[in-house]
């Protein structure tokens, strides 16, 4: 019972931080061009813009 009392809050916290990261990623437009993102990694240039 004790271990559950620790593990459940940890699990919820980890899940929530993942959810928060996803919210941030969607809001900053990172999912707008999925195919392009896969290709841009091949361009070796300075990410100035």
């Amino acid at each position: 019972m004790n271990s559950v009392g620790i593990l459940i809050p940890i699990a919820l916290f980890l899940g929530l931080s993942g959810l928060g990261a996803f919210f941030w990623a969607v809001r900053s437009g990172q999912y707008d061009d999925m195919d392009g993102a896969a290709l841009r990694i091949l361009n070796d240039e300075d990410p100035e813009d």
Binding site: G15, L19, F23, V26, D32, G36, L39, L42, N43, D49
Partner: protein, 708 residues
């Protein structure tokens, strides 16, 4: 990067979006973005590879035409994309994906707790886990469920019902029921079922919003093609800029070369060539002399004209087309999507079933608690998860496959309608043909002659000259001095001490055959270069395949009968010539009224009303803005094959949708008796729900290879 080329931040920037063909790799993205950004006056360029589009922020004075030329220079083909005005559609999808993420998070966490309950946790542990689940599920339903509650509420307020009403009732009742159980320390709480329901439904809703049509302000775009102002020549000969709303019949307009004509009228003075493609869709410029009629929206190509206005504003031919398109669009919006038809039957059935279950258990002598629990179980188990996913998943997978094959599906119901089309009407210029002249023969062989020809052809924007320049692209051009373009005649210059001319037969030299343009260098014999608009390379094969799919093809063209007849004979299909936009519209309407479902394929504004009126329509990406917006599907490239491919893919999609419906209904037929009889536990509900949804998704995945 060079600093002076950057526009200052204070200057207003315009944003243009282009559909780009030929983008295939990472290097293409870099080449396009850097090439455009290096242009003076361009602030930024961003490629969206998924949609094959590039968004350019640029100074107002740089026209879209120049950007298209620049993209051409980088080795791609671009078309202005006018479909998406605001990001309205995207923010809707974004809202849904966030709601889905919250539901997904809650689903996983509640499921984690539920698994321990199913595997035997009881007493205080079960109680704790139920409370924890409630803690997660309540805010989730409040956040993710809003989508359904809002839509259900607005339907109920207007005295109607939709798919969201049973969903909302089911979700809220189940939640209330589970809370009640939790407070009393009961064994069964359905928090996992509630959030899972929301997750799958939002998944379907999200995919659907991806498919939802984007802003379709086609008519506005048509009228935007008119210039905002025109130069009016006063009685005293003074020139004055006036807004087009102030134009009236009888006024005289001065139209500079390259300017768009602002009103319908008659040429009073001047001789020029007019590009009428906006209204008639025909690519070859028409020579106009004094007394000729010109239409608003057409472009004066080579020399200034004085035009006496006969009709202005709302009375112009182009405004007429706009009105026709508006009324044609209204008839189309009455089409009811298959998912909506299914939900119209579904919602009352589910409510009746749940009510009957409640009544049945009460009559059988069970208490309110048991009766209500079983009724809620019926609502949960009949959750239209699989039904809600059945159509959008199939359509999204199929349109993804079509996009890879070069067909953009603009409207969610387009595939449904396309699958049922049984007649295809095709425009000629720009649809069956490429819509731009191509050199078919007569080019000189001698390198020096070719070099001079190239230099002359490059100097002109006339479509025939551009065709010659395109045919010689990559070859060197000779130094030609004193190049002068003579309006309506051609280009001349001096090369190696002799005069060289390229232009109309009779001006450059006598024509030996029906040449389109003539090249003469010095006293050498004039050379006729044949230029013609050519059918797309696979036109015959594509039309044959359409026929094999059971669609009767016919050509509808505004062009001359002889040209249409020749092409129709070559393709072995009937054709009609010299049709006005109103004629095309009437033909489409007549066919529809006789019970046929017409697929209209066209590109010009003259096809706009017909595209709108047709059961379903397609346009090439090279089409005018209005053509693209009026059409349900847009195809890129120089081939016509995407048209039959899209038809075949649409039919396969509808077969998969039918299978999905069968699967979803079959699942209900099995599960509902269990629920009515009171055998459903939270575990069974969860398994049944996710199982049926996954089967439907897996079945739709088979469409990934649909576009062949």
């Amino acid at each position: 990067m060079t600093a002076p080329a950057r526009p200052a931040a204070a200057q207003p920037l315009a944003t243009s979006t282009f559909v780009v063909e030929g983008m295939r790799c990472a290097a293409c993205i870099a080449r396009l973005e850097h090439g455009l950004a290096a242009l003076p006056g361009v602030a930024a360029a961003r490629v969206n590879f998924t949609n094959r589009r590039v968004r350019v922020d640029h100074l107002d004075e740089i026209g879209e035409d120049r950007l298209i030329d620049a993209i051409d220079g980088l080795g791609f083909t671009a078309h202005a994309f006018a479909g998406e005005t605001a990001d309205g559609g995207r923010s809707e999808s974004r809202r849904l994906v966030l709601a889905m993420a919250v539901a997904g998070f809650a689903m996983m966490n509640v499921m984690l707790l539920s698994v321990s309950i199913w595997s035997g946790a009881n007493g205080a542990t079960r109680q704790l886990f139920h409370w924890l689940s409630a803690l997660i599920a309540l805010p989730t339903v409040a956040y993710s469920g809003r989508v359904f509650f809002a839509s259900a509420w607005s339907a109920l307020r207007r005295g109607r019902t939709n798919m969201d009403v049973p969903i909302s009732i089911g979700v809220l009742l189940t939640l209330a029921m589970s809370l009640y159980e939790t407070v009393l320390g009961g064994a069964h709480a359905y928090f996992d079922g509630v959030v899972m329901l929301l997750f799958f439904l939002l998944g379907g809703r999200f995919l659907d919003s991806v498919m939802r049509d984007r802003a379709r302000g086609g008519v506005d775009a048509l009228l935007r093609r008119l210039p905002a102002e025109a130069t009016v020549v006063g009685r005293d000969g003074a020139h004055q800029r006036r807004a087009i709303a102030e134009l009236a019949p009888g006024m005289r307009l001065l139209v500079a070369a390259g300017e768009r004509i602002a009103a319908d009228g008659i040429v009073e003075d001047g001789e020029s060539a007019v590009d009428r493609s906006l209204v008639t869709g025909e690519s070859a410029p028409e020579t106009v002399v004094s007394g000729a009629e010109v239409l608003a929206g057409t472009v004066n190509l080579s020399a200034p004209l004085v035009v006496k206005v006969t009709r202005a504003g709302e009375a112009t031919a182009i405004a007429d087309i706009a009105r026709l398109m508006e009324s044609a669009g209204q008839s189309k919006s009455r089409y009811m999507r298959i998912a909506d038809r299914a939900s119209r039957l579904y919602a009352p059935a589910v409510h009746t079933l749940a009510a009957l279950t409640l009544a049945g258990w009460l009559i059988a002598g069970a208490g309110w608690h048991v009766a209500l629990t079983n009724a809620v179980a019926v609502l949960i188990i009949t959750c239209p998860c699989a039904l809600g996913l059945a159509v959008p998943v199939a359509q999204v997978v199929a349109s993804g496959a079509l996009l890879r094959a070069g067909v953009l599906v603009k409207d969610g119901s387009a595939l449904e309608r396309l699958a049922k089309a049984d007649r295809v009407l095709l425009d000629k210029t720009g649809t069956i043909t490429l819509g731009r002249p191509v050199v078919t023969g007569g080019l000189p062989d001698a390198p020096d002659e070719r070099a001079i020809l190239h230099a002359l052809a490059r100097a002109s924007r006339h479509p025939s000259a551009m065709a010659v320049a395109a045919a010689l692209a990559g070859e060197p051009g000779a130094p030609v001095g004193d190049i002068v373009e003579e309006a309506g005649l051609g280009v001349r210059g001096t090369a190696g001490g002799v005069e060289a001319r390229l232009g109309r037969p009779g001006w450059a030299g006598p024509a030996s055959d029906n040449a389109s343009i003539v090249l003469r260098i010095g006293d050498a014999a004039p050379r006729a270069i044949r230029v013609a608009d050519q059918p797309r390379e696979d036109a015959a094969a594509a039309i044959a395949r359409l026929g094999a799919e059971g669609l009767t093809p016919e050509i509808l063209s505004g062009d001359a009968p002889a040209v249409v007849k020749a092409l129709a004979a070559r393709l072995g299909i009937p054709g009609r010539a010299r049709l006005t936009p109103q004629d095309k519209y009437a033909i489409v309407r007549a066919a529809e009224e006789s019970g046929r479902r017409v697929l209209m394929v066209g590109d010009g504004i003259n096809d706009g009303p017909a595209l709108k009126a047709a059961w379903v329509s397609m346009a090439p990406a090279s089409a005018s803005d209005v053509g693209q917006m009026a059409a349900d599907l847009v195809f890129v490239g120089t081939r016509l094959m995407p048209v039959p491919v899209a038809v075949a893919a649409a039919r396969r999609t509808m077969r998969v949708v039918a299978q999905n419906f069968a699967l979803a209904i079959g699942y209900n037929v099995l599960a509902v008796p269990l629920a009515v009889a009171g055998f459903v536990t939270p575990l069974i509900a969860a398994l049944a729900m996710s199982g049926s949804s996954l089967v439907v998704v897996a079945n739709a995945m088979r469409l990934r290879s649909a576009a062949r």
